[in-house]
Symmetry: C2
Subunit: 210 residues, 2 copies
Amino acid sequence: MRLYGYWRSSAAYRLRIALGLKGLGWEDVPVHLVKGEQQEATYLAKNPIGLVPTLELDDGTLLTQSLAILDWLEEVYPTPALLPSNPLERARVRAAAHTIAVDTHPIQNAGVVKHLKTDFGASQEQGIAWMTHWMKRGFAAFQALAAPDTEFAMGDAPSLADICLIPQLYNAHRWGLDLAPYPRLTEIERNCLALPAFANAVPEAQPDAE
Amino acid sequence: MRLYGYWRSSAAYRLRIALGLKGLGWEDVPVHLVKGEQQEATYLAKNPIGLVPTLELDDGTLLTQSLAILDWLEEVYPTPALLPSNPLERARVRAAAHTIAVDTHPIQNAGVVKHLKTDFGASQEQGIAWMTHWMKRGFAAFQALAAPDTEFAMGDAPSLADICLIPQLYNAHRWGLDLAPYPRLTEIERNCLALPAFANAVPEAQPDAE
């Protein structure tokens, strides 16, 4: 498998964690988002919305959208499971994951903040305030939905919820968000980053890290 | 089941379509988003991020996040299927759905546009330009991912992709976006709205429509 990603992309980071947890190997293909390589015709032919990640299978099949790819991974490589088997419990894990992956990350993604700067004259400081505003909303909700006393967000094994949370916490650190109101999240982060699949997936450990 | 929603909410609209397609009955509980009822403590206790929809089951169980609820519905009420059975085809349907539900709708949601106005002094006109900017990106990508010649977006039966597309097209009409560049989407819309489950779910047909 070939993973088209970028070291600092939250969505690519999610896939690196999941591939690692499932013990799968892959080849990294960096797409330099700051240089705009995601908007080049050759990449748009693989991923029409011009975002990372794209997962290319060995037969050339292309998969896009990190949450869709995570579901595909779970269906094709079910062990270890990233979702519980009970439908209601699955829905709870997904809901926590989506507070980050649907209702937080897309709003504060780099392309959105860039548009805010170009079209609304936002300063760097205002861009950071925008990002942290949506992160605070998402983190508070995630903390309310998380299990109160398990090793990971939703139980004693890592799940889709942890996979979505950890890259967003990376962004929070990067932009200086005070995480004191979210002690449960920093506890989950510590437990996740103690696992090789999470530690190996951090942006600074990637071949294209700058 | 009780569906906490709002007539113009895309995410609640998705659930109405899916419940209708699966032949399930439900009770509507309007949450007036413009009056801010989603931020009241009684609602936040049900849905910590303060968004609609929330689905309350007959035993009081609360489910949040429309995509998570749609997956739960598909698992518990599998007929008619809203996703193919083959994992790769499922991933393709999900990817198309997510170009709208993850990478378009959250960025141009009413709460985000409100924040744009309060924090960046955006005018009503700029707010509309913001919404249509992200819709154009999402619609172009969806059209590229859709099947070229089927009755519905991804095949000859409605799927999760149609369920996410149709409410976004409602928003596009509302804000005057020219859909001429997306002929495939208007064709899909026409075929969907000919089905009772879609027609009954349109915002204007809801009890809280104004």
